[in-house]
Symmetry: C2
Subunit: 289 residues, 2 copies
């Protein structure tokens, strides 16, 4: 099984891959989230692992939008990992004043307050991933620059951590989804099993007062608990949205199909994005392996 | 009145300022959205104009999050403008092969397909705004680079447009909010008045099944039409959200206060972010002045 993920190596996504597929020796980093999903569509890889949501920044819009508008691959599992960000430099620049900081825009946002307090005025530049930032710092020892990235990246690129845990909020986690055309088994994973989920996309019949209320009624009557509801633009104009709804239950024969049939009868369009097991990595177990 | 906006000059936000405050000769560009809002809090400026939502990319998270978590400034108006993106170069590089494209990440995303089709493989780099990208291209004639920005930016920075309307979707608009501690009058604005809105933030009582359904019931019973509902993370952990709800009606004495009182009695927290007029700029009128 070939497992693609948002690269380069040593991203938080790579970490999720290590946890979910500990036996794999065929993991392939992709530069962007769409490229990784496209590779599943074309059969180049069997599985894509991409970030879906961060506890601070919210949804990773490109993942949601590409999954909805561009490809058709079921969600087969999700894994949630704690996020700890560190500031790291090339060992040669250990005692120099940092002139620029590189990282992913989400990581920079996650460290906003600490950066403002301790590294005020230093320019931050966005990279495609935290690991790409670490790699860039490793490749440019002549520049007094730093990267914000995880511990795996510091190891992978031989950087020295000069400030640990510079993220502003301590309860930060990221949720990754495992996408594949084939059904998958996850008996050997080390993460903690955290129940099943079903994710559906609902497009409302028209811009009518109370349409979303009606949709939620179909779930509420059946005591189906929604763990998330998110609106995303339809890309047809401001004010047109669809909704991504997470139900904390696996697909059954009665309740979820009943709700879906009712929603469709009322004029909504419903698409099941997946019904899958949810895993969680506990804090402190990240660097186990 | 001092009007701050997300700069530099010639951003789409600057365009919104020109439309909403045609008489002002005291508009001040800020480098980031938080700095612009902080300047209102400190009294440095009277009004902040910042982007809130784009028809394709969805909410501008930093605006929403900073408005909710960091500052307390009411929304006094909103204005929606059409977004047209062009590819522009320094006149000296008009006939050279473009080696790199600079723009805001949203603008790059808005042109994703056209870039993939016509400028495949050319590296794109994120800047803080489309105008900052245009400025960068103007300042570096020695490099064969291009910017994606609006017509105003091409004029302001003397760049030559080499490809017009390279955005993928033609119905793209951005919604800007006008924030101020003082009440404002907008009789002289040229945009089309588009009704009133009230925006509230609702935090659900606890992670209980159907809580959001209950909240929406309070609006549905009163035939209050919701034009938008958006979930944002609470920043206290994955799975904890608050909701931003737009009601297409100005604050009254009976219906909205009744709904709010009911929600509070049920254990939700409600904060009114503003009750304000909505304006719209029609396509083709952008370059009027």
């Amino acid at each position: 099984m070939k497992v693609g993920f948002l690269g380069p190596r040593a991203t938080f996504t790579n970490l999720a891959v290590q946890k979910m597929f500990p036996a794999t020796n065929n993991s392939i980093p992709y530069e962007t989230i769409p490229e990784c999903m496209d590779a599943v569509m074309s059969g180049e890889i069997d599985i894509a692992t991409v970030p879906l949501e961060n506890a601070l920044e919210g949804s990773v819009n490109i993942t949601l939008d590409y999954l909805i508008h561009e490809v058709d691959i079921p969600i087969r599992a999700e894994i949630t990992t704690p996020i700890a960000q560190h500031l790291m430099v090339h060992p040669e620049n250990k005692n120099k004043v940092i002139e620029k900081i590189y990282s992913h825009s989400h990581a920079i946002a996650q460290c906003h307050k600490q950066l403002h307090q301790h590294w005020k005025g230093i320019q931050c530049e966005n990279m495609t991933s935290t690991a790409a930032a670490a790699q860039f710092v490793m490749l440019h020892p002549e520049q007094p620059i730093a990267a914000i990235a995880n511990e795996l990246a510091a190891k992978e690129y031989n950087l020295e951590i000069v400030a640990r845990d510079i993220h502003d909020f301590s309860h930060n986690h990221t949720r990754f989804v495992i996408l594949s055309k084939q059904e998958l088994e996850f008996s050997k994973t080390k993460g903690k099993f955290n129940g099943n989920k079903t994710t559906v996309m609902v497009t409302l019949p028209e811009d009518q007062s109370g349409a979303l209320h009606l949709v939620l009624s179909a779930f509420a009557w059946r005591k189906l608990n929604l763990t998330k509801i998110e609106s995303r633009p339809m890309k047809t104009g401001l004010g047109n949205y669809f909704f991504i709804i997470d139900i904390d239950k696996d697909m059954d024969d009665v309740l979820i199909p009943g709700a879906i049939a009712e929603l469709e009868a009322l004029g909504s369009k419903v698409k099941v994005l997946g019904s899958y097991p949810s895993y969680k990595i506990e804090k402190g177990t990240v660097n186990e392996e």
